[in-house]
Symmetry: C2
């Protein structure tokens, strides 16, 4: 028999149970027994249990881990991604996005600390990383510690005695600002994957609508780490007259292919989860297994190999037990735990849209010009009265996205014995690296803006050469007020996560810069 | 309505088609239209098409991409992972494995090049990487180029005018040597995940059974790259009297947590594919989507960021089209293509077992002693006549594998603002790094064996410090004949893949060493 789909294979514990019974009876199995026992898969059991639990939750009408954003029409007793106690600004003017999409209206959920002074000149806009919310610091309404709790406060690097600090939730996310889990005013349904493609600049434009609303004409500083470090730069390129200082920490001016590759695998693993259902999972069991694994992959990029070598080494979770295909080494149970903690706390569709926006980030001049041209054409089209907003975008999205020809290996790189000695120097080689003229020109709006650029040598996701690239581009573009700090491996082995952990060096340099 | 599972959400092209029709009719949709069109997911369409095709293949009785190993009972017209033209050695003596499993008999499929001389003193055992087969070089029976085609031949680094080169397929794999897709003589069914946990040393012991059979008492050299670099060292620690020289290229003496983490994510993504079915997918649609994605993750680790920066940069596959959540950047289509090429060419269960064996690799003395003790206890048990081979192993596998307590963050590493300035020096820091005494002792069987250790600075999977660790351990253990070569980033940006590509430097140093 060749195809035996109708004959369901025994699960892991089926044959073992049977075999044990026979061993107890006779000490020699009479039916043929396998030479070795089947392995167990507790990691899959855990996923299946969660699916069953979420499914049960769902049928008992408490929705599984899902929030509707504040603009959602279906409120309920279900848990929410949001704290529920953010400030909210609802903007009724449509927001045109860089790739042609439109948000007819949108919400910005945000938090703030410290007093805005009379002339509104002491505001600092703090940009978040991908999965961080506006809750950077505890508030009266939400006393839980924030992700930068010790960096914000009286006398802290972001000194609430001096500054009014505003942290927003990005559009596209799931913490109360409009995202894929919000209701589309166009049809009254949740956007899901009818949400339009976003860019960092779109997120920043939405933030500046909030600043308009608050009457803040000019920021004392734009500050951000990781994805927030991208946005901090983007704010100054879009609105150079409204930003007095820029601090960008463990960020970049353009995403590089390794980071795109790592985010690609996270998106793919999520989209492969059958529960993702092409984005239409709201009100059903969410793709928690895909989210868990996406977070595990992300976690690999957040720390450094040497740190793990020190922290986990090769220790197994329980050395008295035999190895398994499920998590077994301590590093594996650490990743498993990171995924478990996260898999129901962030909207899967938000992960897709926001991580894609990171991939698309490129402050090169050519990309900025192309975007401007695209926006003008779209604005013209939208100004035509008979125009339906989704018309041209629908056309543009129709054909997509894999090229008709599959990727072909370049002969010079895949031939099985090429001479590699003529490889040109790389951006990882500081001695020989010059940033491209396109990036120097693209960052020229920052020429007169004092800028702090910080990087960490052990960061593999936003490697230190990317911050050198920013600093060099600014200097070569004529900016005489660039501070570049690179924390060595001796200073921090915490890789990309250093910005969350290192109050002394990251906080200290930020404080110096803002003084 | 809170849970709407009974209301299947529209797929991507449903609403767009409807909306287009209305636009054509009236230029103003009368039914509510979404503000933006739904995205398309051609990458998911491709996976679903392949599933449908494989399912159809299966029902028309040609099995989808599956080989049975040569010991399988179910032969058929289906394609095979094996070339079908390897040499074969079937060993009828049971093989006891390091973690207690037993192969009652096993097959080794292998290929060889060059003549074995009269006193059988010119044999080189070449060990493969994880997914490579024994086909390192073309043969008369199989003229397809091998994975080291230019490294083997008359006058090549592995000189067939001088040496008899033997390359075997590892047990646990799917290229004809016994693995999870082979039939278990115990019950006449395919092993699947009733295959026992393997180690590198188990694979090497099986190889040496072949050498016994061929009458080769002592190897001229044990040579290998990547996983083969592990095995090359393992051969000399297990059989120091039978190995005259060791060459280990881009390998290591013990897996480090970053590489375990990357393999963990590959295993998890594969095991999450519903088609994997806990390993019992033979004769059904295989977990091709999980395999594809596992390969994409692996591919990320095979090259280096700087190489991709040069090769792909931020180029999109088709800049005239809007971005998409499916592959879009050239780096993404490259990864997609790498996964597509591979997803039906390797047995998913083999990937799990062989990658796990890599994680378990540790030539430290303590681990070697613990393994010896475990083997002795198991041998004693097996010698007891009333003993059923699967009995104690079944007990050992019963409880497993996640610790009952989830992983807890260490307070000193997760507190949100720790002082990181006292981080001790790391193995990535060559100035301060000394290999652990346990490893120096574990490698002491190689004290009198000339050893070539090669590494590549741009390798992120087997980073250069791991080869420095081998070389330093050997030297500190008293070996005066250690050659350590580290190819700089200027020499090669090809990362881990350098060993496949760099004939001049990798091949050249190997030739010098073997002379």
């Amino acid at each position: 028999m060749v195809c035996e789909a109708e004959n369901p294979p025994p699960h892991a514990d089926g044959p073992r149970t049977a075999q044990r019974f026979e061993i107890q009876e006779t000490y020699r199995p009479s039916a043929p027994a396998p030479s070795n026992p089947a392995l167990n898969f507790p990691c899959l059991d855990a996923i299946e249990s969660r699916s069953a639990r979420l499914s049960a939750d769902c049928s008992s009408a408490s929705r599984p881990g899902f929030s509707s954003s504040s603009s959602s029409s279906s409120a309920g007793p279900e848990p929410s991604y949001t704290s529920g106690v953010t400030l909210n600004y609802h903007c009724r003017d449509p927001l045109l996005l860089d790739w042609g999409g439109v948000l007819p209206s949108f919400n910005i959920a945000y938090e703030s600390w410290g007093r805005l002074n009379a002339d509104k000149s002491n505001a600092i806009l703090l940009h978040t990383g991908l999965s961080a919310s506006s809750h950077a610091h505890s508030t009266d309404a939400n006393p839980a510690p924030g992700w930068w709790e010790k960096f914000i406060g009286p006398g802290a690097p972001l000194d609430t005695d001096r500054f009014h600090i505003i942290c927003t939730n990005v559009i596209g996310g799931c913490y109360g600002s409009t995202g894929p889990g919000s209701v589309d005013p166009g049809n009254g349904e949740m956007y899901a994957t009818r949400f339009p493609i976003l860019t960092m600049q779109d997120m920043v434009r939405a933030q500046f609508r909030l600043l308009d609303h608050l009457g803040i004409d000019r920021l004392y500083a734009s500050v951000g780490s990781s994805m927030g470090g991208m946005q901090s730069l983007a704010a100054a390129t879009l609105f150079p007259d409204r930003v007095s200082r820029v601090a960008t920490i463990s960020g970049c001016a353009r995403s590089h292919p390794y980071s795109i590759a790592m985010r690609h695998t996270q998106r793919q693993v999520l989209m492969m989860d059958p529960n993702w259902n092409r984005g239409f999972y709201y009100g059903r069991v969410p793709p928690h297994a895909g989210m868990k694994l996406a977070r595990e992959i992300a976690t690999v990029t957040y720390r450094s190999g040497p740190e793990w070598e020190q922290r986990f080494g090769r220790r197994r979770a329980d050395p008295s037990k035999p190895p398994a295909l499920c998590p077994d080494f301590l590093i594996e149970t650490y990743l498993d735990h990171a995924g478990e903690k996260w898999c129901l706390t962030y909207d899967p569709n938000s992960l897709l849209y926001v991580s894609k926006a990171m991939d698309l980030f490129d402050l090169g001049y050519e990309n900025q010009m192309a975007t401007q041209a695209r926006r003008r054409a779209r604005e013209d089209a939208l100004a035509t009265s008979s125009y339906s907003p989704s018309d041209s975008a629908a056309d543009a999205h129709c054909s997509l996205t894999l090229p008709s020809e599959p990727y072909q290996e370049q002969p010079d790189s895949s031939s099985s014995a090429s001479d590699t000695s003529e490889t040109p120097s790389s951006p990882a080689n500081p001695a020989s690296f010059l940033p491209p003229a396109d990036l120097i020109r693209g960052l020229s709006p920052l020429r007169d803006i004092p800028t702090l650029v910080m990087g960490v040598a052990s960061d593999i996701l936003f490697p230190a050469w990317q911050q050198r690239e920013i600093a060099e581009s600014l200097r070569l573009g004529g900016n005489r007020n660039v501070t570049h700090v690179e924390l060595s491996e001796e200073t921090s082995l915490f890789g990309h996560d250093t910005f969350l952990l290192d109050l002394k060096n990251v906080g200290g340099n930020l404080r110096l810069f803002l003084d």
